[in-house]
């Protein structure tokens, strides 16, 4: 079983990605991630045969348009075909902040250590780095800058709001 980052910890991955065309069950309790196309085509069979089913959404998909179909999924995986392709960062922020998705949001693909910090801020709860990446180094990357001007899908409060509150506290 491969290891991933989840909420800042290195953990064994309990989900298996099942590529289109393959039929075997996922390992580790039958939690599987399938493509959006397959989810649409085989929804009932997938639910009947597995403990849990997550959905992998291409980074070119209009996440709002398909959200009704995947809103109840326990895991949504977003793709990074290359580490420098940031489309899924916008999908993640929209999922978290506009659509209020509260399930596990996962980053998959060409994920290098120095992308991890940005993923964490955009609301990815779990991150599956590229196989050659050092997981401990990836974990440290999550909080290597602990201040921020703006809020993303994270705990930060925008600086202009913080200034406003500080000003109000003085008066």
């Amino acid at each position: 079983m491969t290891a991933i980052l989840r909420r800042g910890e290195i953990v064994a991955d309990d989900w298996a990605v099942i590529e289109d065309g393959r039929t075997e069950l996922g390992t580790g309790g039958g939690k599987v991630i399938v493509t959006l196309a397959r989810w649409r085509a085989e929804r009932e069979a997938l639910l009947a045969g597995h403990t849990a089913v997550g959905v992998l959404v291409p980074n070119t998909t209009d996440i709002e348009a398909v959200y009704a179909e995947i809103a109840d999924r326990p895991l949504i995986a977003l793709q990074f075909p290359t580490f420098a392709d940031g489309r899924a960062l916008s999908q993640a922020v929209v999922l978290r902040k506009r659509l209020s998705y509260r399930g596990e949001l996962r980053a998959v693909g060409d994920i290098i250590r120095d992308l991890v910090f940005w993923l964490g801020r955009c609301g990815f709860e779990s991150i599956a780095p590229r196989k050659d990446q050092n997981l401990e180094s990836c974990r440290k990357a999550l909080d290597e800058i602990n201040v921020a001007y703006q809020a993303a899908a994270d705990q930060h409060t925008p600086v202009w709001v913080r200034r406003r509150r500080a000003l109000a506290a003085v008066h």
């Binding site: 940005w118 201040v147 993303a152 000003l167």
Partner: protein, 562 residues
Amino acid sequence: MYRYDAIDHALVSQRVEQFRDQTRRYLAGEISDDEFRHLRLRNGLYQQRFAPMLRISVPYGLLESAQLRKMAHVTRKYDKGYAHFTTRQNIQLNWPKLEQVPDLLAELAEVQLHGIQACGNDTRNITSDYLAGVAADEHTDPRPYAELLRQYITLNPEFYWLPRKFKFGFTGAAVDRAATRTNDVAVHLVRRADGAIGYRFFVGGGLGRLPMLGQEMNPFVPESDLLRYACAVLRTFNRFGRRDNIHKARIKIVLREWGIERFRAAIEEEYAKINASVEGDELLLLPEDIESIRGHFTAPAYDPQAEAGADVAGIAARDARFGAWIKRNVRAHKIPGYRVVFVSLKAPDAVPGDCSAEQFEALADISDAYSFGELRSTYDQNLVLADVAERDLYEVWQRLDAVKLATPNIGLVTDIVSCPGLDFCGLANAGSIGVSQDIYRRFDTLDAQYEVGAIRITISGCMNGCGHHSVGHIGILGVDKHGEEWYQVTLGGSAGNDAAIGERIGRALARDEIADGVERLIRGYLALRVDEDETFIECYRRVGMAPFKARLYLNETEAAAA
């Protein structure tokens, strides 16, 4: 100017340590060249021909004396004793060593300078009017708004891996001095008849290949919604910008492929969705938020007696060199008794935009003594002392003159804008510095320059257009033809309120023809103009391309048919 608080300081110093670790891992072989390229670009480090180039962001062109002294120090310690000012008001070092860059950045961070997002596919440093706060034609100081946007886009994780670079330019004056519509987004502060402040947004500008001017997207976004609208534009770009072809990845291509109606509808739809969500609440700016940033850009303590004791006209009458400088390099200020002083970085035989360590130090001392410790960089690769009392003008001139910073040529034919070109840049196809110097020598005498009057010559060493050749009155683009340097000429470009992309005149000229060709164009203008008041660009717009073309290709019978 904006001074860092604890958050800014923490962010910049943690960023330096992040890059130090990335550099260490790269040098240890743990990061590939391609991956490290993306990381170093986002810290301002660009691979040039002979060495890395470090671009240092100067938000809206504002510098203070401590930063100038630090620049003098780092150019000596890490470079060859000089640096280069760019058309985006930034500063570039040409010769730092990669291993030393983390230390260099740490030293810059001490004075609130950095290279964060100075290069790479991200939101770049914001440019603005170099006369902000002192120009008589300004209705709203753009700097507080630019600063709020700077904070929103700096290390914004959603927009850190964009399809391509993304630039903002701001103005709040009647005259656009920041070439705003050449940016991906131009923000024009506007005041409605009822006094309400808002933003006129232009989107889709950009030079380089397929130069385009930004198109109006929204004539009035309310003052509270600067960040909301910016978020809508950036998210639209992040989603729909092309990633399959680097030459088609700017937002201007989305605009071109979609057409303005569809493009505007997409941005407006996203803007409406943001406004209706929790994001909209976070991004909403309240009047007190703007007011507290405005507090960083207050006017200096002007001396109400500044007018007294100044005899500028009298001294100018006695000292012709001073008189020439007053005429060309000194402009009106909105406060009586004060003037705006331009510092020319276009001395004879100088590289346009270059500034030596000694000049940085002199400018630090001069700005401390005479201009409240501030200096600004301009779109034309010159500098500005924005608040000089009239009675100090003669001393300021003497001190600038002593370090070759008082060439009286602002806005004239020798005030040539140029990128570093093939002498430094890894992207360039042809040299640009040598061409600028050749043209300079043709018009070296003041009489010749004054006769020609206002004109902008701009030179880029390649299609990327860092020298803004597309918006020069005479634009020159270096191209490579079978290993030789050739130069294409465009006419009629402009970066101001009358912004226009120049038109290509015809076949390219060889390296040994280009200065002659430009001289013929200018002599042609002198013959064609109605009178001395008709500038080059006005004359061109009146008579069109043909008479200039005939003069440029004087010896070619086929020119008329080309």
